[in-house]
């Protein structure tokens, strides 16, 4: 059983939902990434999405793009990201780490070499934003050969046929993009997401995480009522941007703990 699957099963037994924060490796500084990952776990994160910086993050909004640019300026790319994951893994053998990024750095390393390196670094899953299922045969095969979960996106506009296509390849969880747009944009329509997520969950047979547009504990709590996981990215990056170097971990920890409380309280109030 993969670490991701085990995490979801444990949470389900506890009647809780997964909180999945996203940070970009190397942002705001390479030395802070591993401490920040531990801080996320201490604040109640169940899985960590670690962004792999890319020069052209087309599906991301300005906030995550800025994080990517800051990390690249400090020389952090895919190899350094894998080193950071390995360093985190040296002190934490439980919390799953999912790399989130774009296809080109993976292809530059070679899909098979990357999958082997990710496994060695203790990575549990990979979401390559611009590998939709129809272009993912090689990728998904390499992931599975190295005991990694390939994570796929689904969107409000995804047809039933596409949900079925993702169902064939996905393991770990699927990432439901809650709104039309890039990361960090707009307000999400909780009611619309609430209608769609159970259908998707039934069709894909793996847990469904919801992300894009979740900015506060209240929304996180509302989403946690029907989704298996709540994914928060841009809001955390904003917190990092607003923090002095010495207070990054503490401020992010406070924010994530607040999101956690929002989710747990909403679970109890059902």
């Amino acid at each position: 059983m993969s670490k991701i699957q085990a995490t979801f099963e444990r949470l389900q037994a506890q009647g809780r939902k997964a909180l999945i924060p996203f940070i970009a490796a190397g942002d705001p500084d390479p030395a802070l990434t591993v401490p920040l990952m531990h801080a996320l776990v201490e604040a109640g994160a169940d899985i960590i999405e670690l962004g792999v910086p890319f020069s052209d993050p087309m599906a991301d909004g300005p906030t995550i793009q800025r994080a990517s640019e800051r990390a690249l300026k400090k020389g952090v790319s895919l190899r350094r990201t894998l080193e950071m994951a390995a360093n985190f893994r040296a002190d934490n053998n439980e919390t799953p780490v999912v790399l989130m990024g774009y296809a080109n750095p993976i292809e530059a390393m070679g899909v098979d070499a990357f999958a082997a390196a990710a496994f060695d670094a203790g990575v549990d899953g990979v979401l390559a934003v611009d590998y939709p299922p129809e272009e993912s045969a090689d990728f998904a095969r390499a992931m599975r050969a190295n005991a990694l979960d390939p994570i796929f996106l689904l969107a409000p506009t995804s047809t039933e046929a596409r949900v079925a296509l993702v169902a064939k390849l996905a393991s770990g969880y699927v990432y439901y993009v809650s709104l039309e747009g890039v990361t960090g944009s707009g307000d999400l329509d909780v009611a619309a997401v609430a209608r769609r997520v159970p259908e998707i969950h039934a069709a894909v047979g793996v847990p469904v995480g919801v992300g894009f547009g979740i900015r506060d504990a209240r929304t996180a709590g509302a989403i946690a009522r029907f989704a298996n996981a709540v994914i928060v990215g841009s809001r955390i990056i904003e917190e990092i941007e607003q923090s002095q170097p010495g207070e990054v971990c503490a401020r992010v920890k406070r924010l994530v703990a607040e999101l956690r409380r929002g989710m747990d309280e909403s679970g109890q109030s059902r």
Partner: protein, 401 residues
């Protein structure tokens, strides 16, 4: 001449290993909708008739082929012929594609069009057709390009478009494309994205090629009328590669006609400051397709460099990648200095001010013509006019305007 069958891309947009649909899930349904709408339009005689009529009456097609006799005499070798896309309405080949995509947008009921632009030629063409078809238009343009191409920015504004400066990354064409994609994914139900080149996710490389292929189809009839035969070589500049595919594609089955794409070597390939992704790049994935890219060892896209904003792109259309690998087309590179010399030569000898992009193709013709027989024929796609480049040329050539 022998004609061979060529029917790429496949149903999923692949040219061999290149092309495809490498985008986030959020865009997949929009691309599927576009693919279906384009497939239906292609089969609709009314759509085709209207496209042809607009190309004739609005764009001014067919564009002539002109024998650059003084230039050819000066070089003393092959005869150089220019396909005069610079004479089109708005001054470049870009309008051909924009007419097609705007008609498709209207057919799909989209009231808002967006575009990315580098040199501004595609932005101007998009703003033009948006005005012509009564649509709202937003053009994304890198702030560095806005500085280099101020005249085109003014033209877009006059035509009623909003020009959005892009401050991210290298502030050039690739960043404008990223930003346009973000706009599209956010407003996907109301907005049509008019991509200006033969790159991007399927169906764009195919669709833009189809709309631009009018260039080569006209040449197929014009050359025999002028010279009794097809040219020995067809030469076109390649940034994203739309004017080159437009003139190459109808010639692909004509195996005796060499197809030569000319990339921008910028300061020189050896300096690393260039835009020659086919000559000096490696395959990878960017902007929705797999193709040759300028990238570092970590797979990060590196900035392209060229005197010409329209060639300043770190990728290239996937069909060019395939034509390179199969050997059907050859790709060479011309540096800034060579392009500038060709620019001045064409101004002085033929009274034609070429776009700096097109000057790269002219420069390669100048390079190879002297080694060819006098009855040899080189057909150069003069893809645009150079009015927009006055400031760049003046600056580089020490001319005071």
């Amino acid at each position: 001449m022998t004609a061979t069958i060529y029917d790429l891309p496949d149903a999923r947009g692949h040219f061999g290993p290149y092309g495809g649909v490498f985008v986030a899930e959020t865009l997949i349904p929009a691309l599927a909708e576009l693919r279906d709408a384009y497939a239906a339009a292609q089969r609709d005689p009314r759509f085709i008739a209207e496209f042809d009529a607009d190309l004739k009456h609005y764009v001014g097609r067919p564009s002539p082929i002109y024998h650059a006799k003084r230039l050819s005499d000066e070089l003393g070798g092959a005869q150089i012929y220019l396909k005069r896309e610079d004479l089109n309405h708005t001054g470049a080949h870009k309008i051909n594609n924009c007419v097609g995509q705007a008609m498709l947008a209207r057919r799909m009921g989209k009231k808002r069009v967006i575009a990315e632009t580098g040199a501004g030629q595609h932005g101007v063409a998009a703003a033009t057709v948006a005005a012509r078809y009564g649509m709202e238009c937003v053009v994304y343009m890198g702030s560095e390009d806005i500085r280099r191409q101020a005249a085109n920015v003014e033209r877009m504004k006059l035509l009623g478009a909003d020009v959005m400066p892009v401050e991210s990354g290298s502030r050039t064409l690739k960043d404008a494309l990223n930003e346009a994609m973000r706009d599209w994914v956010t407003h996907v139900s109301t907005t049509f994205y008019i991509i200006g080149t033969v790159a991007g996710p399927h169906p764009y490389p195919m669709m833009v090629r189809d709309f631009q292929s009018v260039i080569g189809r006209e040449c197929l009839t014009q050359m025999p009328e002028l010279r009794g035969r097809q040219p020995d070589a067809v030469i076109a500049c390649v940034g994203g590669g739309s004017n080159a595919i437009g003139i190459f594609h109808p010639y692909i089955p004509y195996g005796d006609v060499r197809l030569i794409g000319v990339e921008a070597a910028g300061d020189g390939i050896e300096t690393g400051r260039h835009a020659a992704s086919l000559t000096a790049g490696r395959p990878g994935v960017l902007h929705g397709n797999r193709t040759y890219l300028l990238q570092d060892a970590n797979g990060q896209i590196v900035e392209a460099h060229s005197i010409s904003a329209g060639l300043d792109y770190p990728g290239v259309g996937p069909e060019h990648a395939w034509l390179k690998d199969t050997g059907r087309a050859e790709y060479v590179a011309i540096d800034d200095a060579e392009a500038l010399r060709a620019f001045h030569a064409l101004c002085r000898l033929e009274g034609i001010i070429p776009a700096l992009e097109s000057a790269h193709a002219v420069a390669h013709a100048i390079k190879i013509a002297p080694s060819m027989a006098k009855d040899g024929i080189l057909l150069v796609n003069l893809s645009g006019r150079g009015d927009k480049d006055m400031h760049t040329v003046a600056e580089k050539s020490g001319i005071r305007l």
